[in-house]
Symmetry: C2
Subunit: 331 residues, 2 copies
């Protein structure tokens, strides 16, 4: 258990490059224990003031598309160029498995052992509360620790792509070279959120890869680009033989080029605004839920709405006339 | 100004088929005047209990794609088959123009005059508050008035497609036969929300229409279908010569086939649940906003979050420790 003095020590250790301290810090900001929250706030304020310019890159794609393999080779390539790389995972599926701590390290064996990399296993306590909420704070901590390139990976179950897209600058969608063959099952809006599509495993079948690139390129031409003035590229990559990694590096560099930075900062502002507003709404809802008698009346009303016996607008007006909400400053 | 006794009268007039009464009723549920809201609730409860089975059909597409022209001919075709057709419009752009009351009637000259049709012009007071919120209530009123097929049309500015998709059963996306030529500017996720794509103005250019149908068909094959077990069709239609209207009618009939009704009812339940939850959140936020001193502290905090000087999660925790929210039953 950490206490106040130890936060400054922990912060200094993080700044000095200790990966063990960083792991403990990430655990703290991910903690759902109430007693940890003030400490987490204190640490986050320290980290926030020290955070240096960074590149936040999201990665999504179906299981088996090759996210980890790509991260392993691309992460090592970035380190070779002098970068420090952190990998965070948002994996809603680990609710069931209780995390994949060994899994992540095994899937990125060289990267996870490298001294310029920090591979954070999927959080294992997801059942207790929001994972993606704390992932944003984990990014802040990693940035304070001097990691300039932060990857956030998700398998894309539920709403996780949208949430990851809302916390990164560059969002990459990985697809298999099977377009035209069958349904890939790409979800709502994901393709338009992506700043680039990567056709993985490009080493397996040249022709399939070419068809996939052409198909996705024509699909994207129908859609509004993910960012103004940005034409979403479709890149074939092979983590196995390294083909395409240079183009990917060039793409990342171009995306984060200082001349485009204004729009990245604008995007980050919009992300913070969105998060603050949605967190505030969740906070208010949790106050409602905390009062069990009111919660039961709301549940009853919701049940009537679901059954169709009362229109939602009428239900809200009835609740409004029934309850008084007062907000006061604590003394 | 309506008062209580007149609500029952109004309701009877609606039930007896008066289109004038229906227009007044829709205006009442769309009203943002506080004094009207209790009356609106009363009317909605009456309408809700009388609502008969109906088909709610959403229609979206860029301006000029031919929504009104299609509605005019398809609406009349449905009336010929014995249906009664209502057309509601969600047009965020009318915020600027102050509504398009003449416009809608002019764009559907025969349908709007037909005794088995009710064409509701775009609401003109959008600046005062949510349009789509009240459109759902307008649907309820039209259903009580015996309209069995309700069209909700939107030009798709901002979030309106998502909102319309959340209040209808069948959602149609209209596109021009120009796929392959240039960017159509289709927005996030719209294509996957659609239960069918209609390639309009199919009379103009046979080859362009065929290419468009093929392109959209292959795009859809990459995506998760809008409804389980439903393969989203791409239909060429011409409102001018009537080609494709039979296929569209067949499609609508198939979609609303009683054997698929369970999934439509499940979808309606999910829509009601989503709306109730989002209305409740809005309600709570409006309570916050109503208190000006608290609102100013929240704005200040939000500003700090936007500037990046404090992480959103810390901001929320600070607000939590600063304010007490109490909810009590009104006596």
């Amino acid at each position: 258990m950490l206490h106040e003095e130890s936060i400054e020590t922990l912060f200094k250790e993080i700044r000095s490059g200790s990966r063990r301290a960083l792991a403990r810090a990430v655990s703290l900001v991910e903690s759902t224990v109430v007693a940890d929250q003030d400490l987490a706030s204190e640490l986050l304020l320290l980290c926030n003031s020290f955070a240096s310019p960074s590149r936040r890159i999201g990665l999504t794609g179906a299981p088996g598309v090759g996210k980890s393999t790509l991260m392993e080779s691309f992460g090592l390539a970035l380190i070779e160029k002098g970068h420090r790389v952190a990998v965070l995972a948002v994996d809603p599926s680990s609710k069931k498995t209780g995390g994949s701590i060994l899994g992540d390290k095994l899937r990125m064996p060289h990267l996870s052992l490298h001294s310029d990399a920090f591979v954070r296993p999927s959080p294992s306590r997801l059942a207790l509360g929001g994972t993606t909420v704390t992932t944003r704070d984990a990014i802040t901590v990693c940035e304070a620790a001097g990691y300039d390139t932060i990857f956030v990976e998700t398998v894309g179950v539920g709403q996780s792509e949208t949430e990851v897209s809302d916390m990164v600058d560059l969002f990459l969608l990985l697809v298999l070279p099977t377009a035209g063959d069958d349904v890939q099952g790409i979800k709502r809006g994901i393709m338009e959120m992506a700043h680039a599509l990567l056709v993985t495993k490009a080493d397996i079948d040249d022709q399939a890869t070419r068809i996939a690139v052409a198909t996705y390129t024509s699909v994207l031409r129908l859609m509004i680009p993910s960012m103004e003035g940005w034409a979403t590229p479709v890149l074939p990559v092979s983590a196995l033989n390294g083909n395409g990694l240079d183009s990917l590096l060039e793409l990342v560099t171009r995306f984060f080029d200082p001349s485009s930075s204004p729009s990245i900062e604008a995007q980050r502002r919009a992300q913070r605004k969105k998060r603050f507003s949605s967190d505030l709404q969740h906070e208010l809802m949790s106050v409602l839920r905390a009062n069990s008698s009111i919660q039961s009346i709301i549940s009853e009303t919701e049940h009537e709405v679901l059954e169709g016996s009362i229109p939602p607008s009428v239900a809200i007006r009835q609740l409004r006339s029934r309850f008084a909400i007062t907000i006061s400053e604590r003394s």
